[in-house]
Each structure stands twice: as C-alpha cells, then as structure tokens.
Symmetry: C2
Subunit: 447 residues, 2 copies
C-alpha cells in the first residue's frame, strides 16, 4: 500500500485489481468527461449540455410552489396546510405523492386513461429507466434493445445492472423494426431473450429522429409479436410544433406493451430531480393474484432511493397546479423558445458555413424539434479534436461516437442549442466554422 498525499487528505492507493465494476464503463465515463471539460474551459461556448435554458427557472419561487401544493392537498383531504407541509419533511411512500396529478396530466395532455396506482414518481427519468430495466430484465441474462445511437442514460443503466444491450440500426423514422424483429429471433437462437426495447419516438437524443404514425404502429406490432415491453421516453415530445404532435406509443398501445418514462427537468426544473414511470400492466402471479407493474417498480425503488424527496415532488406539484394540471401547458412557452433556438442554430450554420465555401463532406441534419443538431465532418471526430476545438476555438460539443454502441458516429458531433442564448449560438457557429475549416484543412495536409 502506497500512501498518497492528495490535497489535505492522506489517501490510500488501492490497486485497481482490487476494484472492479462500472469503473471503466465508457458511457458513464463519457458523461463525467463532458462535465469535466466544461469546467476546464469555462469561457468556451458549449453546445454540449442538453440542459434547459436558465431563463425559465430564474424567477421560480420554490416556497410558492410548495405553498400551492400543500394548500391543494389540505383542501382535498380536509387537513390543515401545516399538516401537509410537515408531511413533506418526513419519509413518503416509495410510489410517490403526486401520482394523481401526473395521471391527470397525462390524461388531459395525451388522452391516457390511468389510475394513480400505475404511476411511480422517481428521481428523474434516469431512476425510472433503471427501475424499469431491473424489473423487466434479469441481470446477466436478459437483453435490452436500443436504437444505435442511443441516449447514454439508458445504456448506462443497463450496464450498471449487467443487462446486455442489443443495438438496432435507425432509419430516418427511428428504430428499424425489421432489424428489431431479426435481433429478437437471433437472440432466441442463442438461447437469450430480448425482454424490452427502449424508444424515444419524438425528437430523440442524440439522433433527432421522429417516428411517423405508421412507424409507431409497426413498432407496437413487433413488440406484440416478439413479446417485448417498450420503454417509451418522451423527454423531448413537448418541443414538437403545434399541430405536428404525434400520439404517444403509450396512447396507441392496446396490448399493454408500453411503459412510459418522463421527466420534469425540461418543462419544470432540473433542480427538483423529479420524473416518473407509468406501468399500468397487471402482472398475474402464480397464485392467481395480480398486481400493477408500478407496484413492482415501487418495491425495487426501496433498494435505490427509497422514495423521491417529498419537497421536490411538492415543487413540481405546485407548478402543475399553477398550469391547470397540464404538462403540455407547462411546456408551451419553452417549446416555442427551443424551436426558435433550433432555427437560430440552423440559420447560423447556414450563414457561417455557406454551401459555396463549405468544405466538402461537411453537412448537418435539419430537425424541427428537440434540442440537437448533428454535424458531419470529413475527419475523425474524437476527444482529441474536441480538446483542440475547445483550446484553440473556444467552442465545445459532444462527439457522436459517445452515443454509438458500435463503430458509428466517428465523423459526427452533436450540437445542443438548449442552454445558449441566440447571440451565443451565432458566435458559437462562427467559431465552429473557423474550427471546421481548420480541422478539414489540416487533415488535408496531413493525410
């Protein structure tokens, strides 16, 4: 044992051979790396974080939200507001406190017909995904299918739980359902079971794909045929332009295949860390009894976070109540804002990298919702290039290879427009253009 003096602390060096586990998981390490590089280049314009814009939280009055919620509940239950306030400072049920408000909002916004018992309130959508994966899949045995590229939150959770991941190619309209069916068959032939598929049908992170109505029905057919559960992530659904919203998979689901996971980070505030899972499937037990799947998620939650902070839930509950109990209404102003920022980013790229002088092989997609644009370069896009771009050009982004499970994405980067002002986006695009010219020129010189 070597003793290392690190900071004020006498630390003991343990050989890595004594420590295994998630230590080297690339999905988890990549998130840490992005956090870290942003602190190293605080003056860089960062297209990296998919975080909501701070303007939407700056006037948020936490006490007022709690007050609105406790007043509502005390009237409903015939208790005093002081009593309900005190309850927020104690433990609460693992399934949650604001389940009825969430069920009502999903009914109002998406036409779902849900009992509050089928909702579990979680510490962000991240915990909802972790719990769902663990309840559906046996560690070391069952498999999860995901689109490739995929949000690192879901692949990270699967890796944490030792659940095998099956990457499925994406078409323009999201998950390739024929490839999904083929992957299920192939797994069966190896004696394994693909138990669930993760899908983000609306402006997915990172690819930006939107599933057509036809593609949604096709995915549900495959799920029914292959006995898959579908984990639907609707984080970016609220950014769809009015009149262009498509129904949730959950709203089209007649065979009990879909578990919906959601987050309040984007439409309310990330600071509360509140999300949810809707799992209204009834699980028949060997003895003939049955229980809603959400009850199993709540049981598993006892081993992860016990319960979601009642204070945090009250903040979200108050925000919902102030907005007619509608998540859609909560997201309306933000939706318009993000679409406008996306338009600003696309226009700035057009202006800074006009088709006449744009280096060959440089192109980007043109999403109509979500937070993200993918930019393709004719050179390898990796961590070394990111470091160079940050240092020399003062701009940050995310290599798309972070989101790919195979070798894909090696020439792409992801730009997020959500956290920046229009001015920052325009200046960022100018810096990006200078970087693109430099990167493509220098590669040309050093083949």
């Amino acid at each position: 044992m070597v003793h290392v003096q690190a900071g004020r602390s006498l630390m003991v060096r343990l050989p890595k051979a004594e420590l295994h586990g998630v230590l080297d998981d690339p999905a988890l390490e990549s998130i840490e790396f992005l956090n870290e590089i942003m602190t190293r280049y605080p003056d860089a314009i960062s297209f990296a974080p998919g975080a909501p814009h701070p303007r939407f939280v700056k006037d948020l009055d936490v006490s007022d939200c709690i007050d609105v919620y406790t007043r509502h509940v005390s009237v409903l239950r015939g208790t005093t507001q002081a009593h309900e306030h005190r309850r927020l400072l104690e433990y609460g049920p693992s399934r949650g406190l604001i389940n009825d408000l969430i069920a009502d909002a999903l009914s109002k916004d998406h036409g779902l017909d849900l009992s509050p018992d089928s909702v579990v309130v979680t510490v962000g959508a991240q915990e909802a995904m972790l719990l769902t994966l663990r309840v559906l899949c046996r560690p070391g045995r069952d498999l999860l299918a995901v689109a490739d590229p995929c949000f690192t939150g879901v692949t990270g959770a699967a890796r944490l739980l030792d659940i095998g991941i099956v990457p499925i190619a994406e078409t323009e309209h999201g998950l390739d359902h024929d490839a999904l069916a083929a992957a299920c068959r192939a797994a069966r032939q190896r004696g394994r079971t693909v138990r669930a598929v993760y899908a983000a049908p609306d402006h997915s992170n990172p690819s930006g794909s939107v599933m057509t109505l036809r593609a949604r029905h096709q995915l549900l057919s495959v799920a029914e045929r292959e006995k898959l559960l579908v984990i639907e992530d609707n984080a970016y659904g609220f950014t769809a332009a009015p009149g262009h919203e498509l129904p949730l998979l959950k709203a089209l689901d007649t065979d009990g295949r879909v578990i919906l996971v959601g987050t309040f980070a984007k439409v309310c505030t990330p600071g509360a860390r509140v999300g949810f899972a809707v799992a209204d499937q009834v699980v028949a037990d060997a003895d003939g009894s049955h229980r809603v799947l959400a009850g199993h998620l709540a049981a598993a939650k006892n081993a992860v976070t016990v319960n979601t902070s009642p204070i945090s839930q009250a903040i979200i509950g108050g925000m919902l109540l102030r907005n007619n109990g509608s998540i859609k209404q909560l997201g309306q102003e933000k939706s318009a804002h993000y679409r406008e920022r996306l338009a600003v980013l696309l226009a700035a790229l057009d202006r800074s990298l006009p088709s006449g002088t744009r280096p060959e092989g440089v192109r980007w997609n043109r999403p109509r919702g979500g937070f993200f644009v993918r930019l393709r370069l004719p050179v390898p896009v990796d961590v070394a290039l990111l470091e160079q771009c940050a240092q020399q050009f003062g701009v940050l982004w995310t290599p798309m290879s972070y989101f790919h499970l195979g070798d894909g994405g090696g020439n792409e980067l992801r730009l997020s427009c959500s956290y920046l002002s229009s001015q920052e986006i325009r200046e960022g695009a100018r810096r990006l253009a200078a970087f693109v010219h430099h990167a493509t020129a220098s590669t040309g010189e050093q083949p």
Copy 2:
C-alpha cells in the same frame, strides 16, 4: 391477453412468465408490506417505522435553509445570492454541491481528514450503498458479507445488483470477525471473492449491537488481511450517550479499507433525501494514473439518479451552516430525545410485562442507543401474527425474520421507539402486553 378493469384504468394483464427480476425479492417486498399494513390499520400504534420524530421537522423553514446556504456560497465565491439560487434550479455535478460542508463536518465531528473530492452526495444513504456496492462488486460474481440479521436496505441493494450475500453471525459486539475470515476463505475455495463487508458498528438496525473499540480494530485487521473493503453505516451513531461515543471505523482506518456512508434523514429531515458516501481511496489505473474512488461512485451515479437535487442539498447545507457546520450539533437534541424514548419504552415493557407475571420465554434486550428494541416470544413471530396483533390489539411492529438471511429471528420482533410520543409508547406497551399474553396462551392451547 385478458383486459382487466382496475379503477378508472383499462389495464392489460401480462403473464408473470414475461416479467422477471426483483419482482419477488423478499427484502423489497417486506418493506412494501410494512408500508401497506400501516395504511390498513391507521389507528394502530406502530412500533414499525424507524423514522425520525415529526416534532423535529415541524418548524423547519425550507426557504430559510436555502437562503442561509445561498448567502454562504455567494460570499464564498464572490457571486450574487440570486445567481446561487438560480444554480439550485439547474442540473448540478453528479458528485454533489455540499461536499465541502460534509467533509468539514466529518473533520470537526470525527477527526477525519478529508478532501471534498472524496465525498459524493447521494439520494439518501440508500443510493450511497447501491453505488458503493456496484463499484466494488461485479454483478453475478463478487460477494458482499453482512451481519445476520441485517438492515434490509443493504441486502435489497445487493439483490437488485445481483451481488451474492454472505451472512455472518453476530456476537454481542457485532460481526463475528472469525466467522468473517472463515467466510472469505470458504468463498476463495469456491473460486469466489468476498469483496466487501457491510458494518453498522453503532447501535445497528435491527440488532442494536455496538462494536467495542477492540472489535473495531479486529474487524479492520480482518479487512486488511482478507483485502476487504468495509462499508461503514453510521446512521445511528448520533444516538450514543455523551461520553460513550466510540471512534468511527473510518477514523481508525490506516489501510484505506473503509468507505463511510451517512444519512441526513435522522439528524436533519428525511424529506430532503440527502445522504453521502466518503470514498477517499486512490485507485491506481493500469496506465499509472490514479483517481479517487469517489469519482468512480459519481460516474456510476450518472446511471442511477444523475445528481442529487441541488434544492435538497441547499436545505441540508443551510441546516449544517445554522449548526456551526457540525452534524453532531445537529443531532444533539435529537440524540437526547431518542435515548429518553428508548428508556420510556424499556420502562413501559418492564411495567406492562413484569417479571412475575411475564409468560415464560418472553424477554428483550436493553440497548443504550439507536431506535430499536428486540422482543423475543416463545411462539413463531410471522406476518400472520402481525396481522392478528394489528387487528385485535391495535399495535404494529416488524418481524425480526424480515432482517434475517437464514432461518433466524423466527421468534423475535423489532420495536422502534423513534416515531412515537412517550404516551403512545406506554399505551403501545400495554397493548403489546395484552397481545403477548394472548399469543402465548393461545399457542399453549393449540400445541
């Protein structure tokens, strides 16, 4: 597929064969059962929950705590308080925001010399245990040793992660260290590795055991010899009588063996859901680089809850700042309160079940700290008996068998004094005595 109308919701019944995982985990189900039975008997006096007494939170002013914290940080950083307030409403680093306050408190209270980098702020001690187990143990391969009986939070987390559990017998002074060493050897002979041991040296839940100073040193010796990491849970340490506190294992640890997990639920409020892990071990990488183990926990946290609510952290931070940055000071009044309640419970049992008329085989331990008393009966103590006791005698408790990994605890129940008033404890003890007489008499009649 059968469609079941449950409440307002059209639910789909899925055969259980399609759903596996934690669904039937006894440790998790038992917590759910206890929650559920308390709602079924709302008028029963419940000795079941190990929750802190509501009197300590009833006057807690959440906004004031947040205000104290943001003022402190803005002065420290030379920013505005509004800026720091807004930061609480955004995402935060996965390692946490109040790491420095926690490191300083542990230095002040326990003489630990810690860098803030070795602290991870978690959603309760539960998430701290889950992250620690996952970073130390490979699912499906490595083993965790625990005292038998054991807190269900840690066994639940191990089961969720598919980490095998090795039960170790308890002596009066906690974990039997000879049995622990023997279990490590036995595992090695089977080609498996016991990677870590969970220990709660101070008034453990549920057994109430306290490790002597000698036993603490012996446990650390075994850990060093067998290359075990020790996960120390200090949840009830604050209830020790002044002058009877023993040093943390972490404070005696010279070989970097101990990871400390802690909770603010008992000394601050459960409603914030804030805990922490201290993992200051330096992990040497294959390439010669090294990283503090806490950094690996923070990376894993990205796959569980991403980050702990900054609002919740500010509430705890404010409470710490209002108490000279000392967790011990935060717990002082509560410590005296709980010791008094424990004395009330023991006196009430003495009075309601006096040695003269007490049925043979009825006895209980006499702990001097913690929240719990174990009561032994000459009859099997199971869920059926609990249900009967709740229905006929209006009193609830926890079967000790819930905490045992083997067949132990079948004749014991756990009484918690923390949540009740002295009057409720006395009335509860009277009801309990009536129940004990009934249960022992009726078993006599029906052998």
